[in-house]
């Protein structure tokens, strides 16, 4: 058994978002419903997209952090599934957005299941908030235990402060500036403008980024993703079965990474460890990758991934990302939906769904017939990358990654 055997044998057959009449784009600040409802909507939408009866689902993989979601048993039950052969409830966040996909694919590859549902569902703004990560008891003269006794006591709470350390060290060591992050932010937003799902759709300039208020130096507001209520789901099956379903399959070529980033320094991403092996497992070269959707809770994260994959050297992403290279018609289109920062924060899972759409050629945009895969490539309306065949999706800090191919 080898990575070569696994390569392209499983596929993503359908994708779904927790859309509703109140929130047609799915992503919102206040879903008004419980997390099970979000998960059910997304799962049923993914089945409809694939042309699959939800009762055919016989396995599920989910991830959650701070117990903010609904486990597989509840969701499978809500879908009326009676023949469950596999389930996994991962405890983690953005580190599992890519891993969840290849874990499900392995269950299919080994013949344990036929159709595995993978989802991330959360009321991340109206319910359990990531911004309060590490906030411990909250305030007052109270005490905190665990790791927080060494961190929160100094005022450390929330994702921006936790990850700001990485960004600051990267900036100080390599001469990268907030102005460089601004260029990344502007490119992402220019894609979000053409994404009806995106929460942030007003065009921005480099100056807007620089003038946006400071959240946690080095992060300005426009460097940060936002807490979101949403669910995203997809269906994984064998490539053979996927071909018999409604949509063009997206093949899972390779996946690697255990949801951790054991790197020597915090400015490193784990792609320095797994990047070369991932390419080898998928049998692709860096130049073959047409779309890059890296986990962008903050602007610097995908920039550091671009360097650690080898598109440029450490500290050079500041130049690499300029001049249109990461735009829709550039050498390496990134955050083609606006990323987590603009579309919304489904803990990275929406970046996987976006990669699927780009490879199918049916990216949801302002083109009149995008649903039929008819794109104008008029960049005021269209955010479909031309002829996208290979996509790289990376979870937070390179803790796991997948390569997907057009089927």
């Amino acid at each position: 058994m080898s990575e070569q055997d696994f390569r392209d044998k499983t596929a993503i057959a359908g994708i779904g978002y927790s859309r509703s009449p109140a929130h047609p784009g799915a992503f919102s600040k206040n879903s008004g419903v419980d997390v099970l409802t979000l998960a059910s909507r997304a799962a049923r939408a993914a089945c409809a997209d694939a042309g699959l009866d939800p009762k055919e689902i016989d396995g599920a993989v989910m991830y959650q952090m701070f117990d903010d979601s609904v486990r597989t048993g509840l969701v499978l039950s809500a879908l009326g599934c009676r023949n469950v052969g596999y389930a996994s409830n991962l405890v983690g966040g953005g580190n599992y957005s890519s891993f969840a996909v290849f874990q499900a694919a392995q269950a299919v590859y080994h013949g344990i299941c036929n159709y595995v549902l993978v989802y991330r569902a959360l009321n991340g703004r109206s319910g359990v908030r990531m911004g309060h990560w590490g906030a411990g008891a909250g305030g007052g003269s109270s005490r905190v235990g665990g790791e927080s006794q060494f961190t929160s006591i100094y005022g450390l709470a929330g994702a921006a402060a936790h990850h700001g350390f990485e960004a600051r060290r990267y900036m100080d060591l390599y001469g990268v500036t907030s102005l460089d992050f601004a260029h990344f932010a502007v490119n992402s937003r220019s894609n979000a403008v053409k994404n009806p799902r995106a929460m942030m759709r007003t065009p921005i300039s480099v100056e807007d980024h620089q003038n946006s208020r400071m959240i946690c130096d080095p992060y300005h507001l426009l460097d940060c993703c936002q807490e979101t209520d949403v669910a995203c789901a997809l269906i994984i099956t064998s490539t053979e079965r996927a071909r018999a379903l409604k949509k063009r399959p997206v093949l899972i070529s390779a996946g690697i990474g255990g949801g951790v980033s054991p790197t020597p320094n915090i400015e490193d991403t784990n792609l320095i460890n797994i990047g070369p092996r991932l390419l080898q497992a998928a049998d692709v070269e860096l130049g073959d990758i047409d779309v890059f959707e890296g986990y962008d809770a903050f602007t610097d994260m995908p920039m550091r991934m671009i360097e650690d994959m080898g598109w440029c050297k450490r500290g050079e992403a500041r130049d690499f990302i300029k001049g249109g290279r990461i735009s829709l018609d550039g050498e390496l289109p990134t955050q083609t939906h606006g990323g987590l920062i603009n579309e919304g924060y489904c803990h990275g899972f929406n970046n996987v769904l976006e990669a699927v759409q780009q490879l199918r050629g049916d990216a949801e945009d302002l083109c009149p017939h995008w649903q039929q895969g008819e794109h104008t490539y008029d960049r005021t309306l269209c955010r479909q990358v031309r002829g996208a065949e290979v996509a790289l999706n990376v979870s937070v800090l390179g803790s796991s990654a997948i390569i997907l191919k057009r089927g």
């Binding site: 007052g140 929160s152 005022g155 709470a157 990485e166």
Partner: protein, 145 residues
Amino acid sequence: MTTHEYAYLLPQPDALTQPFWDAAKRHDLVLQECGECGKLRHPPTSVCSECGSESFAWRKLGGRGRLYSYVIVHQTALPNWRQSVPYNIVQVALDEAPEIRLCGNVIDFDDSKLKVGLPLVAVFDDVTPEDTIIRWRVAAVPAEV
């Protein structure tokens, strides 16, 4: 200032971390040291990642380090810190164990002059009669940063 009056969060030690905070109260910086291979570790854990040994001792360190990284918080979910923004939080790489990074705050320094690599020295801040937490002071400010 009494514990009741201190506005910020305080450590809640457990069996593993109590010696660290007891030492801080004596104005010592100590770290767990593996009883077999001597590897230093932090935060405290029950096993050594190098050799798997469950025996350990506490070793006193010199309290000097370098600024590994820092952030300046302008918006926080911690209600009682809102009155203090903007404030810095730092990670310090210890001179005697550079792979170990301690979290803290740099005091008595202009935040706009913070720079990765600045030499720091531990300050034992007796924030309540029961609690001493470790903060940091810039050891020697270079002529021009």
